[in-house]
Symmetry: C2
Subunit: 108 residues, 2 copies
DNA sequence: CTATATTCCCGGCAATGTCGAGAAAATGAG
DNA sequence: CTCATTTTCTCGACATTGCCGGGAATATAG
């Protein structure tokens, strides 16, 4: 009975929307940290991406090596239609609960 | 290291804001079910309220018996300042992640 | 080849989410 | 008063999600 998306899962999926083709572990972690002022460990990000992928909400592919100093190849992530649907549902639910509240609370 | 509010916890706290003095187990459950179209069991609601109370985000008091047919006395819940703060933080984070996205995704 | 930088994987525990069975009041009927 | 019925709440148990820390993999520079 997997009913709804968790909060961190929401953030991850939103990061995918924002980052488009540039979405990979590190950039996702940075985007969330920057925009939510919450420090996120890499492990949390990868683990969550893995679970989202198992559910078919997200897909991934390996990028080519870049010219930067070091590093393993990037694993890029993309939001799948099923994931987009879940995300919309989840946000709609929150919107329903915040609609009409004071500006500080309402998700405007 | 309790970092953030879970998703269901958010919904509960928002229900408290909406319902004011009328907030008790059953009305909270109904409000969430109605506004999010997600069916929620009573157990989930009470359990979450209990945990929120332990963290000091919520307080409760027993109501007087009413004139309705049957029923145990209602346990009313109120959002405490600490809870309001957490809720605002949590929603601000989401707002930061959705800002500027398409209307379907943005929490407007 | 070695050093270093960048990225990713994963085990394991903590916190949250959910369900189901059932106990506790409260009132009305007989 | 006693019993049946209604409404509300409690609690145990387990599934899912969240998170950290340690470390492995892979790339380039020197």
């Amino acid at each position: 009975m997997p009913n709804a998306l968790g909060e961190f899962e929401q953030l991850i999926l939103l990061a995918l929307v924002r980052l488009g083709d540039d979405a990979y572990g590190v950039s996702i972690q940075a985007e969330i940290a920057r925009r939510t002022r919450r420090d996120v460990g890499p492990g949390a990000v990868y683990k969550t991406l893995l679970r989202l992928e198992e559910k078919g909400f997200v897909s991934s592919w390996l990028g080519e090596p870049t010219r930067r100093r070091g590093g393993r190849r990037k694993k890029h992530y993309r939001l799948e239609p099923a994931g987009a649907l879940e995300l919309r549902r989840s946000l709609a639910a929150l919107r329903g609960m915040t609609r009409g509240l004071t500006p500080t609370l309402e998700l405007q």
